[in-house]
């Protein structure tokens, strides 16, 4: 029977399947960070257990650390204690740690691929819902809770039920000014934030095949915003070219054997899915969210929807509340809405190609007066690469703030945050109430749209930038 790549990876990792019980699923890579792991290590200690496979576990600090220079201490006492606890836990249990001063530090979903630890066909988990990012390599990668972090530390396994499958086929060619971020925001706007619940997305089609690995990561990253715990892209030459020579990728004969195996990780001709959707890349515009969940997005030329046009009363109520929170008026154009802050970074759009896109827009320009522009590289490695290319100078000369690597204002745990009532355009993944600071208001968009907005101080269409029309 023809199988999807999702079923192939699943079957390969089932350790045990008892009647009526979830499967025991083997986990190949466990990523750990400071925020969702301390209680799990406490659990291990109280049970007298060890970490079963330190060689399949890797930790970093990303969520609560400041993005100010690393020679300064962490001013927030609770964050400092949390980072210290991570260091102590990793030392005690033998878990390799790329700590907050390490040259390999970074957002957990940026460093896994960078180090070559994220590999096709693997099962990858982390106490973080954006673990789906690693699906870009053809891995089954999903976020877990802290109880599950403890289970994986102790057994390198999890109890899981076989997920349903959801094919997202994106055909055609993206037009200039439209990017991977716009594909995923368009998908979520269509299916809603619960549309993929219980499913794993497989992204396929000519538009997906044409994307770089970093662009595929942007798409897989936001699978959870469509309700799916995981989303993946079958590996291909683009995947292998990205991985080859990375520090933890196999080498020599091992590499050849691995690639031969990875080539079998495609969905078979005739494989069926529980759900399917087709998106035409040719018709996509840059997308911006206007509301308080990632499904509340629209093409940038659109106008803010009117609750009066909603037939479903619950949807009308949610929209009314969202517009109240955002202080936006139905019928207004989204273009031209003023912002106070521009945030470029996060596990969604904090990689080198994202920074290059933004720098290309800001080069030789000055950001709008009174607008704070924060550029936060996704990892120390991305930061070094950007500095080698002189991107830091472009950002600084334009009046933007160039920071150290971390989650920063995507989750606003580390002091990088909006003031109540402020608006941000953000390349991150969530526009929930208060996500970027209590009372803050978020427009999600691509790095291109964010950079175009930085120049004008109001939401701007990147297709109007010089060089964007063909």
């Amino acid at each position: 029977m023809p199988k999807t790549i999702i079923e192939k990876i699943w079957n390969e990792h089932v350790v045990d399947q008892q009647e009526g019980a979830p499967a025991i699923l083997a986990i190949d890579l466990h990523l750990v960070h400071e925020v969702t792991s301390p209680q799990a290590f406490t659990g291990l200690r109280s049970r007298g257990l060890k970490v079963r496979r330190p060689d399949r576990t890797v930790a970093t600090a990303d969520h609560s650390i400041p993005t100010t220079p690393r020679n300064l201490p962490i001013a927030d006492e609770m964050a400092a204690a949390q980072v210290k606890q991570l260091e102590a836990n990793c030392a005690e249990f033998g878990v390799p740690l790329h700590g907050w001063e390490s040259p390999n530090q970074g957002i957990v979903h940026v460093i896994g691929p960078e180090l070559g630890l994220t590999q096709p066909g693997a099962t990858i988990v982390c106490g973080d819902s954006h673990t789906a990012t690693h699906g870009a390599f053809g891995a089954l990668a999903f976020g877990i809770g802290t109880s599950e972090v403890e289970m994986v530390l102790a057994t390198q396994c999890l109890l899981q039920r076989k997920p349903k499958t959801y094919l997202v086929r994106v055909d055609g060619t993206l037009r200039p000014g439209v990017s991977a971020k716009d594909i995923i925001l368009a998908l979520i706007a269509r299916i809603g934030v619960g549309g993929g619940t219980g499913h794993v997305f497989e992204y396929a089609g000519s538009a997906i095949r044409a994307l770089s690995m970093e662009e595929r990561m942007t798409i897989c990253n936001m699978s959870i915003e469509g309700g799916a715990r995981a989303g993946l892209v079958a590996p291909d030459e683009t995947t292998f070219a990205y991985l080859k020579g990375r520090p933890h990728a196999p080498q020599g004969a091992d590499w050849d054997a691995a690639v031969a195996r990875w080539r079998t990780l495609t969905s078979d001709e005739g494989a069926t899915y529980d759900k399917e959707i087709v998106i035409d890349a040719n018709t996509l515009e840059p997308m911006v969210t206007y509301g308080t969940n990632p499904g509340m997005g629209l093409p940038i030329s659109g106008t803010i929807p009117d609750p009066a046009n909603e037939s479903d009363p619950a949807a009308a109520r949610a929209l009314t509340r969202a517009l109240e929170y955002m202080d936006l008026r139905a019928g207004d154009s989204i273009i031209g809405r003023p912002v106070n802050t521009v945030f470029i970074g996060s596990c969604t759009n904090g990689r080198i190609s994202d920074l290059r896109l933004a720098a290309n827009v800001l080069k030789g320009q000055t950001v709008a007066k009174g607008v704070r522009v924060m550029v936060v590289p996704g990892s120390a490695d991305v930061k070094r690469q950007a500095e080698r290319e002189g991107l830091d100078k472009i950002f600084r000369d334009a009046g933007a703030d160039w920071r150290e690597a971390g989650c920063s204002m995507c989750i606003a745990m580390n002091g990088d945050q909006l003031a109540p009532g402020e608006y941000a355009i953000s390349t991150s993944n969530r526009n929930f109430e208060g996500r970027q600071g209590k009372g803050g208001r978020t427009f999600l968009a691509s790095p291109l749209t964010a950079a175009a907005t930085a120049l004008t101080g109001v939401i701007a269409d990147p297709r109007t930038l010089p060089g964007m029309s063909r």
């Binding site: 025991i24 301390p38 049970r47 039920r161 619940t197």
Partner: protein
């Protein structure tokens, strides 16, 4: 290791008629800097409950209304618990005294986290959900009895409704069994699987050759 044990309980309802309530609302991120599970009751729905100066909002958010004090069943909108995987969300709900949540659907990770902490995420058909939301708003003395062993819910009109729960989760909660202990009973199979699937990932050693 002791896991939460759930049996039969009777308690009042609290209405939260909002769709897609995300875990950032359930526990805002700035409360995730804790290194233990305790003390999260005040973090629950913090920014919906408290003013900037830390005083409770007036009028209070629904879970703080005196008329709902002690009610342990939250009647919420569709897709409850969407977003972040933070288990702090069920920890905070449990600390506040919430034992079950009734909704037409739940986000996957939240549902899994809730069950591990003895909080029942109960999916109801839309008509019954609407009825109970109405009762939660209007009849403060109304109680619902949840019987996990029978997987039934007795509503204020005396009717008994079956609710869906997988047999495995049901048994784990009834007996207070722990998932980690369950996995460890299969350690022989885990070892055999590891031997058969050596893999190419090694976090300790760059460029590991096998």
């Amino acid at each position: 290791m002791a896991a939460p044990k759930v049996g039969t309980f009777t308690t009042g309802l609290v209405p939260l008629p909002a769709e897609n309530v995300d875990t950032d609302q359930i526990v805002p991120a700035r409360y995730l800097k804790v290194i233990d599970k305790a003390g999260l009751a005040d973090a629950l729905f913090h920014d919906w409950r408290f003013e900037a100066d830390g005083t409770k909002k007036n009028p209070p958010f629904v879970i703080d209304e005196p008329r709902y004090a002690g009610h342990g069943i939250l009647v919420a909108g569709d897709n409850f618990g969407t977003g972040s995987s933070r288990e702090h969300a069920p920890w905070a709900l449990g600390a506040f005294g919430i034992k079950a949540i009734l909704a037409t659907s739940f986000a996957d990770i939240f549902k899994s986290n809730a069950l591990k902490n003895g909080i029942l995420p109960i999916v109801l058909p839309a008509p019954l959900h609407a009825t109970l939301m109405q009762i939660a708003k209007e009849d403060l003395a109304a109680t619902v009895t949840i019987n996990l062993a029978a997987a039934t819910m007795t509503t204020p009109d005396g009717a008994t409704h079956a609710f869906p729960i997988d047999l495995f989760s049901q048994k784990m909660l009834l007996d207070g069994l722990d998932e980690l202990d369950y996995i460890r009973t299969q350690s022989g199979k885990i070892e055999a699987h590891e031997t058969a699937h050596p893999g190419t990932i090694n976090t300790l050693q760059p460029n590991a050759s096998r």
